[in-house]
């Protein structure tokens, strides 16, 4: 009986490791940017091309930066959530149209609704690289000092918004 004890322990440990491994999402790579200042940029706006947008315009406010594209499937899934958030008006959501065509992006917003006060256009994807974007949609929570406090990779859902995003926004506002 005793000789089976050690293999059994090894087996259980191995199963434990594999079980934990199964619950991890390989797409959720911890971002080194959380806790660091949001990279600066100056990008043209989607609707008014001659105007620009920079994160420094948002200094003193807690806001969300949502990276999206008209070609992105997850963005479509996420969109109703953003629309509900915009309607509730609890936190401003600014868009960044990532590696997209302007006309297609505009059509997409017209069709599905526009939750953003304004959208910046990152056509070449360079700012996306500065923000460590690798799978749209991605959402950043940025505090009054312009520091990234949270990064969501992949679509937001109602539960995440209610349980994580909004409480965090509230906390950052009160600071």
């Amino acid at each position: 009986m005793k000789r089976f004890l050690l293999p059994l322990v090894i087996f259980v440990v191995l199963v434990g490791f594999l079980a934990v491994g199964l619950t991890l999402n390989p797409r959720e790579v911890p971002s080194p940017l959380v806790g660091k200042p949001a990279p600066a940029f100056l990008l043209p706006q989607l609707h008014e091309q001659d105007k620009t947008f920079s994160p420094s315009d948002m200094a003193g406010q807690v806001w969300l930066l949502n990276v999206w594209a008209s070609w992105c499937g997850g963005c479509k899934e996420e969109h109703p959530v953003l629309m509900r958030m915009a309607k509730a008006g609890e936190v401003p959501i600014y868009g960044m149209d990532y590696k997209d065509r302007r006309d297609e992006a505009l059509t997409w917003l017209r069709r599905h609704g526009n939750p953003y006060p304004l959208t910046a256009v990152d056509e070449a994807g360079r700012i996306g690289i500065d923000y460590g974007v690798y799978g749209v949609p991605e959402t950043y929570v940025i505090d009054k000092q312009g520091v990234i406090r949270y990064k969501q990779i992949g679509p937001l859902d109602d539960e995440l918004v209610a349980k994580t995003i909004l409480p965090l926004v509230q906390e950052l506002r009160n600071k």
């Binding site: 390989p26 797409r27 790579v29 911890p30 971002s31 080194p32 940017l33 590696k99 070449a124 994807g125 360079r126 996306g128 690289i129 500065d130 923000y131 460590g132 974007v133 690798y134 799978g135």
Partner: protein, 153 residues
């Protein structure tokens, strides 16, 4: 009909696979890019290197690396640039840290554990074999059997 078949046979000769685009015009820079890109992970298709992947992000990152090479940045500076944005995950060789200790020493621990188990098992087996004394009667029987075998051959 025969002509038609002939034309059909010509089709494969006209088809050409699109070749991979050269990574950079300058061959020295290209060599450096290749060297760096096999060390870096594409974040979209996570089991491919930046050199292998055709994902748009990988293309963008190659462009970025190429520009940094053109700016004469060192390999370490380029890697730091990417790690700052994407974390250690972009590196195929993760750095030695508290969180990666198990990753680095785990295989050696397993090796040592295996070696210890092997030595212990061999020792136990050695102890199990007790000396069996042979009596004179048995010795005579053995010799008799052996001589029978010799006679037969």
């Amino acid at each position: 009909m025969r002509w038609f078949a002939f034309i059909l046979l010509l089709i494969p000769a006209m088809v050409q696979a699109e070749e991979a685009k050269p990574l950079a015009e300058n061959s020295v820079a290209e060599a450096r890019l290749k060297q760096l890109a096999v060390e870096l992970r594409c974040l979209v298709c996570q089991n491919q290197t930046l050199a292998d992947s055709n994902a748009p992000l990988a293309e963008d990152l190659r462009r970025e690396v190429r520009e940094m090479i053109a700016k004469n940045m060192s390999d370490q500076e380029i890697i730091d640039f990417l790690v700052q944005r994407y974390g250690d995950f972009v590196l195929y060789r993760p750095p030695w840290k508290a969180s990666t200790t198990l990753l680095w020493i785990g295989p050696f621990l397993l090796l040592i554990g295996g070696a210890i188990t092997l030595v212990m098992a061999l020792r136990r087996r050695g102890q199990g074999l007790a000396d069996a004394p042979v009596t004179d009667e048995e010795r005579r029987r053995v010799e008799q059997l052996l001589s029978q075998v010799e006679r037969r051959s």
